[in-house]
């Protein structure tokens, strides 16, 4: 008896049912004014927030596991980086536990290591922008030509110097952003919304189960 009830719970359908139940409640909550439902969904949302923090913790643990694996196997050219990574992580957690997350030591590490490196890391893209503009970005078709002409006008508008190149640039740029850009991106948004709704319906109906692993 015990075994059969367990194996029922193990089935994916149970999880699919939970997804559907939570989803339908949240949707109904938006359109209906039913106090019991509204209160229950407010609680459900807060549960979601709690579960999301667990997911964040899970993510960090998975990452430690990957690096622990690398260290254990002594993967060549790799394991000492992983040691360093785990070391910094442990130090950060230790100082935050002692002084608090908003304490001076964690802020110091966060600022001088994390913010400095991550912002540098992405700023490298500025360099690539230059080389690609020169070496790869081409007016290879009518569409690409239009795109590039617009891009150049917008760049000149964004650079305060643009008005010096031609005084009509700021006004023209603003019109492009406000009219054709608004329109096309609105079409894009409406299409996106429709796609998301269909995908959502499919998920809540249990026809999309990829997320269950």
């Amino acid at each position: 008896m015990e075994v059969t009830s367990m194996s029922v719970l193990k089935r994916r359908e149970v999880a699919v049912f939970m997804t559907a139940l939570a989803g339908i409640a949240v949707i109904a909550d938006y359109f209906l004014k039913v106090p019991i439902l509204n209160t229950a969904v407010a609680d459900l949302l807060r549960w979601g927030v709690i579960l999301a923090s667990f997911m964040l913790i899970w993510g960090t643990i998975s990452m430690i596991r990957i690096h622990a694996d690398v260290i254990r196997k002594k993967t060549p050219n790799q394991w000492y980086y992983s040691v360093w990574l785990v070391f910094l992580m442990v130090v950060f957690v230790a100082v935050s536990l002692i002084q608090g997350l908003a304490g001076p030591s964690s802020r110091w590490m966060y600022d001088s290591i994390y913010v400095a490196s991550s912002s540098t890391y992405y700023s490298i893209l500025g360099f690539y922008m230059i080389s690609a503009s020169y070496r790869a970005i081409r007016a290879r078709s009518g569409e690409a030509t239009l795109l590039l002409v617009i891009a150049v006008i917008i760049m000149l508008m964004n650079a305060p110097i643009g008005a010096a190149v031609w005084e009509g640039i700021p006004a023209l740029g603003k019109w492009i952003v406000d009219v054709p850009n608004t329109a096309a991106s609105r079409g894009y948004i409406i299409g996106l919304a429709i796609g998301a709704v269909i995908l959502g319906v499919r998920t809540l109906a249990g026809r999309e189960r990829g997320y269950l692993g």
Partner: protein, 258 residues
């Protein structure tokens, strides 16, 4: 009981669900909507053929995302295209190199390629070495892809999935390697780079049509059909609304404010 101001939205949602259910039902009876021609997908065959002629490899990547994000539909679309590419490389006897950026994607991608080779009737030609897992880190992965493009002298570069800051880097490397490039993403901020650097482009939502277009998957075809009905509704509403607006009749606006 209904919350005022949201009734129009509820109506739209109900319509979409009903239409979708109806189309799914039709699809289960084998009646599916026909899908328009899409140059980006059609170009893949030509691109793979070129690799065979030149005796150089085809490179593929499904982008930077895995399955645990809002972007996972893009990864799935990329893998659907990979299945098609694998089928073609098997048929045309071209060499395939596919690089993934997330460890979780690797087993799925392996299965996908194996499936493609099986569908082409050449399961024996599949080798696990066709797939490379480079790194979970953004630039380590991108750097690895660029290395492959240059070292192997690829003839064809196909990139479909979610791409972020590395999009331009990869497209530039493919261009420098002299490859014919087919690129697609639903990441709005990056599409412009693909349009200006790649030879063929799949724009936004187009990549999500992969399963329907390349494999005639009935569930996905029904989904696309339902989306198009919703787009017709949007188009009709805008057209009617503009006419009524010009005539000074605010009835539709008021209806949508309900």
């Amino acid at each position: 009981m209904l919350v005022s101001g949201r009734i129009a939205a509820l109506g739209a949602l109900v319509i979409v669900i009903v239409v979708y259910a109806w189309l799914l039902n039709r699809a289960s009876k084998g009646k599916v909507p026909r899908i328009r021609k899409m140059a980006g997908f059609d170009a893949i065959e030509e691109a793979v053929g070129r690799a065979t002629e030149m005796g150089k490899p085809v490179f593929f990547t499904p982008g930077i995302s895995g399955f645990d994000h809002a972007d996972s539909p893009q990864t799935i679309a990329g893998l659907t295209v990979l299945r098609h590419v694998a089928k073609l490389t098997a048929r045309y006897k071209a060499r395939l190199i596919a690089a993934v950026s997330k460890a979780t994607v690797l087993p799925v991608a392996e299965e996908t390629v194996r499936q493609g080779y099986l569908e082409a009737g050449r399961p024996e030609a599949y080798e696990p070495g066709m797939l490379r897992y480079l790194s979970d880190e953004q630039f380590a992965w991108a750097g690895g892809c660029i290395g492959i493009m240059h070292r192997e002298g690829i003839a064809t570069n196909i990139m479909v999935g979610n791409f972020m800051g590395e999009s331009l880097l990869l497209a530039e490397a493919g261009y420098q390697a002299g490859a014919i490039q087919v690129a697609g993403t639903a990441n709005r901020s990056q599409i412009g780079f693909f349009v200006t650097v790649a030879d063929y482009c799949l724009i936004g939502e187009e990549i999500f049509a992969a399963g329907a277009y390349l494999f005639q998957d009935p569930v996905q075809l029904a989904g696309l059909g339902a989306q198009d009905v919703a787009k017709w509704i949007a188009i009709g509403a805008v057209a009617l609304g503009i006419i009524l607006n010009v005539l000074g009749i605010p009835v539709l606006v008021n209806l949508l404010k309900m």
